[in-house]
């Protein structure tokens, strides 16, 4: 079965979703990520969806679950690169993704992750969305 590769970069994990995922693939990614966070003691996860042309409630829930699960395992998650048409649709669908940190692109996402991690224990929550 096709799967989404997870790249490790120091204490971060990077994922770029570039295929139209069927539901099992999304669930597999969630599993793979939780295992990778634990195995590598990762402190941040960056998920790039800049090539995704659609995010429905299933994928939205997967992203929210990864973010929540990652936090419990000690890793912050940032979702980056959402296309404007996808963002408009997602909000109209009723999913504003509360609790999921987002950034415009990979560069800003990495900067946000670094700030979140450096700020742990101080006032890091001020940069958490939702």
């Amino acid at each position: 079965m096709e799967h989404i590769p997870i790249l490790r970069m120091g204490e971060f994990l990077l994922v770029s979703i570039q295929v139209d995922m069927h539901d099992q693939m999304a669930l597999k990614l969630q599993d793979d990520l939780s295992n990778a966070i634990q195995k590598n003691a990762s402190r941040g996860v960056l998920i790039d969806i800049s090539t995704l042309e659609m995010v429905d409630s299933f994928i939205g829930r997967m992203v929210a679950d990864i973010s929540g699960m990652g936090r419990i395992l000690g890793a912050e998650t940032v979702l980056v690169g959402m296309q404007p048409a996808v963002a408009i649709t997602l909000v109209e669908l009723g999913l504003a993704l509360p609790g999921v940190a987002t950034a415009l692109n990979v560069e800003r996402g990495m900067a946000l992750l670094r700030r979140k991690i450096d700020g742990v224990g101080s006032d890091a929550d001020s940069i958490t969305t939702g």
């Binding site: 099992q24 409630s57 048409a85």
Partner: protein, 135 residues
């Protein structure tokens, strides 16, 4: 897939069929010249409803038709299943309510993404949802 025919149907019997349903609707909305936002809304609504037919149906049929009325063109897509049907329609159309493990945004969310939304469900016989979006 080169072009999608203006009228047709396809099965909704696997997760892969949900992906194919999205791709078919994307292709049709592109052929009709929908804006990117309108394409995305229609594709997302189709994804939600195709999943419902597959998960709760379980399994059904997708059919589509290009409409023309008063010089406007639109896309009609129908999702039909022979599943258990929906006993309480008001509840099913409520944001956040789910009988399964979803987020409960499928039906109510899909309705907000299209121009016309019709649902017809009979307990024990199945559910048919028809959506239309005009260009």
């Amino acid at each position: 897939m080169l072009t999608a025919s203006p009228q047709g149907e396809a099965p909704l019997r696997s997760e892969h069929d949900i992906v194919l349903a999205r791709q078919t609707v994307r292709k049709l909305t592109q052929q009709l010249g929908f804006s990117l936002v309108d394409q995305t809304k229609m594709v997302t609504a189709a994804s939600e409803l195709a999943r419902n037919a597959f998960v709760y149906g379980p399994g059904g049929t997708l059919s589509w038709e290009i409409l023309e009325r008063d010089g406007r063109r639109g896309l009609k897509v129908r999702f039909a299943d022979e599943g258990p049907g929906i006993p309480n329609m008001d509840l099913a159309m409520t944001d956040g309510w789910t009988s399964g493990k979803g987020l409960g945004m499928g039906l109510s969310g899909a309705r907000r993404l299209v121009n016309d939304f019709e649902i017809d469900s009979t307990v024990g016989a199945g559910t048919r949802v028809t959506i239309v979006r005009w260009k």
